[in-house]
Amino acid sequence: MEEVDKILIHSLRQAGTLVPPEIQSVRDFPPELVVEAAVRCVRVVRPALGAPLSTLLPPGMSARFRLASDLASACQELGFSGDVGYQTFLYSSEHDTRRLLLFLVEKLPRDEAEGGAEPPGKSGTLLRAISACIRDQLGTPWVPPRCRTPRFQRLQGVGHLHPFSTCPLILPHTGGSPELQEYFRGAAPPVPAQPPQPARAPPALLETHTAQLSTHHNWETEWGSIGLASRLPPQEYVGRKRLQARLRALESLRQACPPRPYGPPEGSLDPAWLQGAFGAGGETGGALPKGSRFTRTQHLTHEQDPQVLLQQVRVAAEALPPSKGSEEGMGMRQAGEEAALEATLARLEVEIEGRRGEAQAAQLGLAQAEAEVRQGRLALGSRQDALRLKAQALELLPDAQGNLAKLQLVVEAISGVFWGVLMAHFGVLPARWQLVVEAFTGVFWGVLTARSGVLPARWQLVVEAFTGVFWGVLTARSGVLPARWQLVVEASSQRIVSLAGQWERHRGPLLAEYRHLRALRDSAQLESSRRLSEIRALHERSCSAADEARRKEELYKQLVLELEALPRDISRAVYTRRILEIVGNIRKQKEEIGKILVDTRVLQKEINTLVGKLERTFSVTDELLFKDAKRDEVVRKAYKYLAALHENCAQLIHTIEDTGTIQREIRDLEEQIEENIRQVKLSSPDYKGCAQEEVVADFLKRIDCYKATYEPLDDQLDSDLSYIKIFDVGVRYLANRVQGHVQSRTVYYLMNIHVTPRAIYLSRHGESQLNLRGRIGGDSGLSPRGRQYATALAEFIRNQHIRDLKVWTSHMKRTIETAEALDVPYEQWKALNELDAGVCEEMSYEEIQARYPQEFALRDQDKYRYRYPKGESYEDLVQRLEPVIMELERQENVLVICHQAVMRCLLAYFLDKSAVLKLTPVAYGCEVESIFLNVEAVNTHRERPQNVDVSRATAEALLTVPDHY
């Protein structure tokens, strides 16, 4: 506890309480200090709560009480769960105070811990700065611009605001040409100097960084998903993608633009065409030509709305505010103007119509012209073909002779081949051959004439001659050399066969090679896909590793911050040292205990030896002296003295021993007191929810307080007083001079009560026949529902497993029947009988009202004292029940089955009667537990009506009668 107290005092000092250095533990705290410490803690924890409380304990008792109560409620508001009240502060017990102060100290804010909880790193710093700035701004009131001090000007003025506009920055980077590197090293301005205005530097930097970051991020995601799957190195992938994008852009451009005029296929773009492609040229010289498909369509749609325009103009004209001057002339002039304007508008409209028609005509003309151009182009193509043919023919012309010879040779070769093939296939059929050849010649001739168209006469001659020659050759050869032809054919076929063989020879290895290559390709593909998956895995791993690294770095930063934020004096070492100290203390104490034990033993031994020595010395001295005693007077005297001394010594020893016993007894008694407290006071409402030790400690303190005021009774001195003493919770009683009725009843009562744990069950009987009919009193049996109740009660009691249960009933049939169901022995008490209603027995309330309205009203006036004619009042019943109550106190577990009025008296308050009541008497009061057995019964309780006057009306008297048959 010492250590705890030290920490506590240290914390309290930190919270601003001046704890004097001589105070080392909570035990020494005076109430003033407790109050001051608590108030200061509350002020730190929640200033709103602590502000109205004073740290100084006022001298006046009522003021003290008020302050302490306020403080207690403040503590409860802070969440202190323990028992706290004014007494905690004013009459403090060490334990309570410590608990309360510990709670408050724990609630004290820790600046360092708060600092550590905030996010670390640059972003954390930024966030902190932002929040501080906002807090600052929110904390200051708005001040009109004229009244602003420089500080307010900074906070609320607009002078320091700049538009968030950026500009491109150039940041040094590696790579690029050596000149660029030189530029970076030398002439490049630093980033803050780059923007035209210094205020634009932060936005520019921010934008540049964001752009870089997002580019990197996008590239990461894309490369991770699509890029890797393409199986290309990054540069190639980018190049291909760029190419594709360019192609797509070109495609869309091509679709959107008019066809390009024919010209040189590649090279510089025609500016006129470009302008056409991108819309009308801009009027402003500085800007590039603007306009897109969108603007063009917009333009058109806007132009086609003259009606709307007209309407708008009209509306505008009508809405013109009429001037206040000469209305008439003004009106006239306005009308004239209006008419003129309208005429102009109409003219304009007509013009627009005309222009539109013209535009349409022009468009039509354009289409026609385009068609014509297309036709012309087609015609041009055909003419060009013809021209090319002619040019070729012309080329042939100059060398006509040579060409003719060539032609002849060609013709001969053709005919030769032709002939050979024919002969080989068909054998010799001269007659038919002639026909064929003639036809061939005819065709040939036709072709020739058609192709050349030049010099037909000469050509005819040539061809005729050729035909003649051909014919001659044909006739000469025909049918002459069939054998030779055969030979040639055979040789050719053989050659073909050999060629096929050669081909086969070559084909085999080629095919094998082809297969091999294919297999190679497949394996390469497999390999590449494997690599791809590997690369992907690697990529993912690198990503996760980067994440991990980032997280760890953050964690590291946070930890470093926390470490820095930790106060030096609450380090681990301090705690370790304290623990070691405590352990050392314990060891020291143990050693001390051991030493004391040894000392005690030594002491005991010494005492024994001393006592023995004394005895021996006495006996020796006695013997020595006794011999001489008869002879010498002096010796006799000495002997007498010795005897006296001996006696005194014995007395002394006896006294010392007595003291020891008494001390032991005192200790025993103290233990006994503690035990008694434990038995009796634990259930006291003062100590609700407290631990046993606390109760004992607190009550001992209370006993100390009692000692200040009370005086213990002395058996001898106070024997003339009348009192009762109870020893050890009813083990022994001492009644002194008990006289008279009340005193002896009290003794009787006190001797009957006990605190052994037990339960008293009170139950009304089950619903009776007369209850059912709404009649009071009588001695009827149970109704079916009443019997059901009896079984339910029996079931319940059986389930409770009550030790030594005594069952009591009245002499009435309904209680006996209820108890019968329990099937256990029961005791009948006449004292438990229901209130005797005298002349009103077995009557319903209505009948009573009808027959004895006056009685009925009188009963309502004072139900407790009203006695039914020839019957009983509640007062009588209470008298009758006294022995029952006394007996109940004496008994342990009892079940009382009784009646409504009796139960009411037993409890002294009204409760739900169709239920079992479990009473657990404790030292202070009685715990009541209502158990409903789930069996309904009619209500027989009648509320006291408003009007209890004797002369009241029947309806009023019966207003509260419960329902019955």
């Binding site: 500009c167 491109p168 920055l169 150039i170 590197q181 993608k241 797509r248 852009a249 800007a287 590039l288």
Partner: protein, 176 residues
């Protein structure tokens, strides 16, 4: 035609040229007050215009080194060297700037944007509104002049805008 450049001390030429390039790339042009001792105002305008035009044509036409050098033969060799050095080093940057300008071929182009978050506490109809509103300022260049456009949006509208922009960004990424 760049003869005027020779009026500048040769040591400052490279720096001056770099500043001109900075101006082309959207940063600050050199200031007359720094070079007032070398040129008169008309000369200054001329030299500025011509240098800019020279750089633009040299990069825009993608001229070879010889062609570039050909145009400045009339200059002193020191200045020639400075011009070639500057051009070689900054070519890529100038090209990017020119490409940017060509990209801005359509009628309007977003130049810059800024935003402010506001909390509307009440309106003319509702006394307790507590609705966050975003004020988006767009600096749009239209026909060569910058025009501010201010839009106030609530949460849903802002979300719509962001969605549209994200979709557009996706398309742009495919073309990148």
């Amino acid at each position: 035609m760049l003869r005027l450049l020779e009026k500048l001390p040769p040591g400052q030429a490279l720096e001056f040229l770099h500043k001109i390039v900075d101006g082309i790339c959207g940063r600050a042009y050199p200031r007359y007050q720094d070079y007032g001792s070398a040129w008169s105002l008309t000369e200054w305008m001329e030299v500025l215009e011509e240098t800019v035009a020279y750089f633009k044509t040299a990069v825009g036409r993608n001229m070879s080194d010889e062609e570039v050098a050909e145009q400045v033969t009339e200059l002193n060799s020191n200045y020639q060297e400075a011009i070639t050095k500057c051009l070689k080093g900054r070519k890529e940057e100038i090209r990017n700037a020119l490409v940017e300008r060509v990209n801005a071929i359509s009628s309007t182009q977003l130049q810059d944007f800024d935003w402010q978050l506001k909390l509307a506490l009440s309106s003319d109809k509702i006394s307790m509104l507590q609705m966050p509103l975003l004020n988006l300022d767009l600096d749009v260049r239209e026909n060569g002049e910058i025009k501010p456009i201010s839009i106030e949006m609530n949460k849903e509208e802002l979300q719509n805008l962001i969605n549209a922009l994200e979709a557009a960004n996706k398309v742009v990424l495919q073309l990148k």
